[in-house]
């Protein structure tokens, strides 16, 4: 078997790829829909697929290049380039065929247009590949991706490009081919394999590798904390130490405060207040402007803590032996879970209040004939975190190592919340005051049962803690 064929096998042998295939499959109808509805006149939706496919193939190749063994494999150095270009040709060649459905184009001119579409797809694919290669770890800026798409749709830049492809396909092909050639040269350079060999990388495909994620998070934490003398001010340490010392040795109180210290301490040590404030500020403002009367997108912000809860293992550092029984650990996880839930609810309520205060200050924006008014968050949705966060904690503590499952669970939970939100909006359902407490009782009950099972019946370390 030649090296390239062996490498291509990764496309189905790498389990994480199947998750992304599913993701792309879900996107597929969305981008083919305009083709079926010709009046929309938007044929370039597939560029999103091309870009994402580029991210994936480059991520896969980069992951292989980081393995020192691939550096030593004879004849391997040019393989990533061949892999990326072949995977790009096939997929973009097929995606470019959407232009065959473009109304009013004669044969054989339509073939040239389709080729133009495929070449443009190749450029977007290579841009994705470039991103995949350049970012050693997951880049938070990928979160802006939907905004970029929305922006380009709003400003109709896709229509401009589409018109260029239809009116001047040959020029488009020449320019795209030139860009592809530049990328071909970049990928063929001598130092490529050396550049990635042995580097730690948390690419788009490493979502399920808990050990790797942990290693990279720690490396990142150490790099970030390196600038600070201590992870957080001494007052924080002294606060928890004082609370611990107020309780007797071997008591539950000491254990609970110690547990809270390592849970909150870790969060505080990596917390970047300024970045977080900017991030939340932008989200509150942008989502506020994108909201409409009766449907405030900004209310989705109330769900963000639940996503955070789905990632938070309430039993961190299970392998460290401390004088705390399994019962003590259960007690400590319940205390920590409740504290984090209350603090987060408080924080999100403050954000909601700020958004309400911003309401009268922020002006309406006129853009291309549309008027965008700011819609504040509805503070009554604060109760969402109280019943949903414990469910997130329970899942994260039950399967701390199954990143993909946790991600899928948070998506399902978000869909449920969205469904609930839309139904209450459409049917104008008023909240019964009894609903939140009942929901809370049910979710906390389930959460307590799960946490008790994990703490009392499960293996707490290594291969024994299934999913851990």
């Amino acid at each position: 078997m030649n090296i390239l064929r062996a490498n291509l096998k990764h496309l189905y042998q790498r389990r994480a790829m199947w998750f992304w295939y599913f993701f792309l499959l879900c996107l597929f109808p969305l981008f083919l829909l305009p083709v079926c509805v010709a009046e929309l006149d938007r044929f370039l939706g597939y560029l999103v697929l091309s870009f994402w496919w580029g991210l994936l193939t480059a991520g896969l190749q980069k992951e292989i290049l980081t393995k020192p063994v691939s550096f030593c494999l004879p004849g391997y150095r040019k393989i990533p380039r061949q892999f990326i270009f072949r995977a790009g040709y096939v997929v973009n060649g097929l995606l470019g065929l959407v232009f065959l459905a473009y109304p009013g184009l004669d044969f054989p001119y339509v073939l040239v247009v389709a080729a133009g579409g495929a070449f443009v797809g190749m450029v977007f694919y290579l841009l994705g590949a470039l991103g995949g290669f350049r970012n050693m770890n997951r880049n938070p800026y990928l979160g802006l991706f939907p905004l970029v798409i929305l922006g380009s749709v709003f400003f109709e830049s896709d229509r401009i490009l589409q018109q260029m492809i239809i009116s001047s396909p040959v020029q488009i092909i020449i320019v795209s081919a030139l860009i592809s050639w530049l990328f071909w040269v970049w990928l063929g350079r001598e130092g490529l394999t050396r550049q990635y060999c042995g580097k730690i990388s948390l690419g788009i495909l490493a979502g399920s590798n808990y050990a790797k994620i942990k290693k990279i998070r720690h490396a990142e934490m150490v790099r970030r904390l390196g600038k600070k003398k201590t992870p957080f001010p001494d007052t924080v340490e002294n606060f928890f130490q004082r609370r611990m010392s107020q309780h007797n040795f071997l008591s539950r109180g000491k254990c609970a405060w110690g547990h809270l210290y390592i849970m909150l301490g870790e969060c505080l040590s990596v917390l970047q207040v300024r970045q977080l404030a900017i991030c939340f500020g932008l989200i509150v403002i942008i989502s506020g402007y994108l909201s409409k009367d009766g449907f405030a997108i900004s209310n989705m912000l109330f769900f963000l803590p639940v996503i955070f809860a789905c990632q938070l293992d309430l039993l961190p550092y299970r392998g460290i032996l401390l004088p705390a029984s399994r019962g003590d650990r259960f007690y400590a996880t319940v205390i920590s879970g409740s504290t984090v839930t209350l603090l987060t609810t408080l924080a999100i309520a403050v954000i909601a209040l700020i958004s309400i205060l911003l309401g009268p200050v922020l002006p309406d924006i006129n853009l291309k004939g549309h008027t965008f008014g700011y819609h504040a968050m509805n503070v009554k949705y604060c109760f969402v975190t109280l019943p949903l966060m414990p469910i997130g904690f329970a899942v994260a503590t039950l399967i701390p190592r199954r990143q993909v499952l946790k991600m899928i669970f948070s998506i399902v939970l978000m869909e449920a919340y969205l469904g609930f939100y839309v139904v209450t909006m459409i049917r104008e359902i008023q909240f019964n005051l009894f609903i939140p407490p009942v929901l809370m009782m049910i979710s906390w009950g389930i959460s307590l049962l799960v946490l008790r099972y994990v703490c009392m019946r499960r293996c707490l370390a290594g291969a024994g803690s299934r999913g851990a």
């Binding site: 720690h218 934490m221 904390l225 992870p231 390592i262 299970r318 032996l321 004088p323 029984s325």
Partner: protein, 294 residues
């Protein structure tokens, strides 16, 4: 004989299709320095984790300090020190913060000992735990496990990440703490040459089974290497010694590994054969290889 501080009866543990522990029976008496050896995946760490209740058995009973491992309370756990293989520590803390945090749990934390280890191991208090090298992390883990002078000290591959000098220091440290005859130490290691310097009892594991559970002296007396040199230049085709485990011959010489030998009997047989014999004890590594290959 002292009452066992750890008792395992018919303990079985499965991880999917893999039987990590298979009907393990074990008694650990106080004051012993026990070496736990076996290949990777033989069940050493699983066994140790059962003792401290991190793992729960699928079948059987594991009792530590008179308490079922699943119900070990804070007072029992405060008597156990554990250095684990993965070296899991709170990476975001500085070394000083971590020592302060762990020591806050123990009433009898020995500050003098802590200072001694810090200076012996050359550990900087200001650096972040996550930035320590694997060797330094292991030293810190050892400090944290020993700082409160536990009655039962469990060391799961403690020296695997240490360089030769640090390993020698660690062995000195171990030799120092075993002077306290009430302390029990279980040390699991692949570096058998290190282990054999300190242990007085040996457990050998293979594929979840406990192959041997005996005193190290007994085990050393069970096997020997016998060098036989013929005084008339010839050795008979079949040597008359009992329980030969291994034999290498060359002209009028032979090197044999024997089991259950008696020195007097060997000397008598040597006279009959007109041979000169030399009896040597085997190293732990050699004994281990013989037992595991059986």
């Amino acid at each position: 004989m002292n009452e066992a501080i750890v008792q395992m009866r018919n303990v079985c543990k499965r991880f999917g299709d893999i039987k990590a522990l298979d009907k393990v029976d074990l008694d650990i008496c106080p004051g012993r320095i026990i070496g736990l050896v076996g290949a990777n995946g033989s069940g050493k760490s699983t066994l140790l984790r059962h003792i401290i209740g991190l793992y729960l058995p699928d079948e059987g009973d594991c009792v530590t300090f008179g308490c079922q491992a699943s119900r070990l309370g804070a007072s029992e756990l405060a008597r156990i020190g554990y250095v684990h293989q993965e070296g899991e520590l709170l990476d975001w803390m500085t070394v000083r913060q971590l020592i302060r945090y762990i020591s806050a749990y123990y009433k009898d934390w020995n500050r003098r000992l802590e200072d001694r280890y810090i200076s012996d191991f050359d550990i900087s208090l200001k650096v972040r735990v996550g930035s320590l090298s694997p060797g330094q992390r292991q030293k810190l883990a050892i400090l944290l496990a020993m700082g409160f002078e536990p009655e039962l000290l469990i060391l799961d591959e403690p020296a695997s990440a240490l360089d030769p000098i640090a390993r020698a220091q660690f062995l000195d440290l171990l030799l120092g703490i075993i002077q306290d005859s009430t302390r029990t130490i279980i040390i699991s290691s692949h570096i058998l040459s290190d282990v054999e310097k300190v242990i007085d009892h040996l457990l050998i594991m293979k594929e979840g089974h406990l192959l041997r559970d005996s005193s190290f002296d007994e085990l050393r007396e069970e096997f020997c290497r016998l060098r036989v040199t013929s005084l008339d230049g010839q050795l008979p085709a079949e040597l008359p010694f009992a329980e030969i485990v291994d034999c290498t011959r060359e002209e009028g010489r032979a090197v044999l590994v024997l089991r259950n030998y008696s020195q007097e009997k060997l000397e008598a047989q040597a006279q009959t054969l007109n041979c000169e014999i030399e009896i040597e004890t085997l190293s732990l590594e050699e004994i281990y290889r013989i037992i595991v290959s059986e």
